[in-house]
Symmetry: C2
Subunit: 278 residues, 2 copies
């Protein structure tokens, strides 16, 4: 079969990825799950036609989403919750921290986990960690029953519009705050300021209404449209933009993106993004 191109287009521009063959295509209760082999970029996962990851650059997003809240926290976190993240990439990065005792993951669509475990073992290996407990549920409901339990909460969601829509509302941020122990820190997938400026602004407002320190960090992920995705990091701490602890040399050797300097630098935004966040 000849190569073809998979394109995710929105607001007049898009990303296009050359693809060699289909690996798997399934319709779950919630969304269409597609996995392709691209050749140069490894495997490509789409949910409802939206690029979720490629093997080529998933490290950038997963390392940052896991480590920004981990190192912003003033003490080594013991309990982590991941909402979404059914591919296992955030789990894999959290699993590199021996300090964590509990790693809960709440994913609405168990079919995503099944596809990842079957076809993306290099990412889904995060599920093999004995500290991980998987909950198949709507994250916006799961969080309601938690009270002062987690040290970090990471929201690795799809875009608003699909099943992840409630994860972009102010109530969800209020509930995350309640689910955190004192000093807790959240990090949420916060879109691109070039592509979806109004969502970036809305998330930032929801976080600011609930947390003392809030930052918007940019992560360079070439296969997302515009090549950038943001993380909204927030907590009732002095400054989420500063890592409070160094990365151990053993861990640093395993990281391809995150380091202490890029932690702070990622929160420095161009003027047009600063205005958006005002």
């Amino acid at each position: 079969m000849a190569d073809f191109w998979v394109t995710e287009a929105m607001n007049g521009f898009g990303m296009t990825v050359q693809v060699k063959r289909e690996i798997c295509k399934r319709q779950s209760k919630f969304q269409k799950i597609e996995l392709y082999e691209t050749g140069k970029l490894g495997k490509l996962l789409l949910l409802d036609g939206i690029i979720q990851l490629t093997n080529f650059d998933e490290f950038a997003y997963h390392e940052m989403l896991a480590n920004l809240p981990f190192y912003a926290h003033q003490n080594p976190p013991r309990r982590a919750l991941v909402i979404g993240g059914g591919d296992g990439g955030v789990l894999r990065e959290l699993g590199k921290h021996p300090e964590l005792e509990t790693i809960d993951l709440c994913e609405i669509d168990e079919e995503v986990i099944r596809v990842a475990r079957e076809f993306l073992p290099e990412i889904a290996c995060g599920f093999d960690d004995p500290r991980v407990a998987v909950h198949i549920a709507d994250g916006s409901e799961f969080i309601r029953e938690k009270n002062a339990f987690y040290d970090i909460i990471i929201v690795d969601s799809t875009d608003p519009g699909g099943p992840g829509t409630p994860l972009f509302g102010e109530e969800f941020y209020r509930n995350m705050k309640r689910a955190l122990r004192p000093g807790g820190v959240i990090a949420t997938q916060a879109e691109s300021p070039y592509l979806l400026p109004e969502i970036v602004a809305r998330l930032h407002r929801a976080a600011r209404a609930n947390f003392r320190s809030v930052g918007y960090a940019s992560i360079l992920v070439p296969t997302y449209p515009t090549g950038t995705i943001g993380a909204c990091v927030a907590g009732d701490i002095d400054d989420v933009t500063r890592p409070t602890r160094p990365v151990s040399p053993e861990l640093a050797a395993k990281l391809r993106y995150y380091n202490s300097e890029i932690h702070s630098a990622a929160f420095q935004n161009p003027n047009f993004v600063r205005e958006l966040l005002r």
Copy 2:
């Protein structure tokens, strides 16, 4: 006419931009020049099929390429040289600095300047500045005859392969060094580490062989493939990554991307880029 998509693809992935109509298509002595109206992203300029700019995001690239060397310099620069940059965008940004006395531009392809002045006046307005002198010549030859003359040199080139190829060689960096006055700083278009890692590494080596302080800065430009483009900034000064002077409030109001904090932050690189630059 129905909309169509213009795609720049390389190494398995690419950027694609929705286009409403062709504005102009010309074959110059050096390259194919194409200009389209996109609708959402404004006008789109291609040289030999490679995206050079859109109205939507050119500010990011032009502001950073002009201001990184301008503010890294320890004194307000008086004399600037732009090599390439026939669209006028870097000139427009340099023109915002009253301190500059001389702004030379050396472009190999005068047809690019003609197209920009005719169809992209919002960018080519940079040519209207009375301090600007235009030289139609090969930048790699033009620079050979200059000795301790410029305070900053900015290389706004196409990718290697086209007429810009000599601008990626070590000899060119040696000649730029000679063309600078003491304390002078250069900034060159330095590609994306995700897309062309070997060129990023090569440019960095060429700069390090000639200058005491060298940095690689990332700029978020969604319509370039991978969404990121780098600037190699170098000089015989203490630290190109630090701005030495604040941006005046009058100028800050005119800038949509550059600020003092993003100057430093842009030079903080992910681990995989650090390795590339070693």
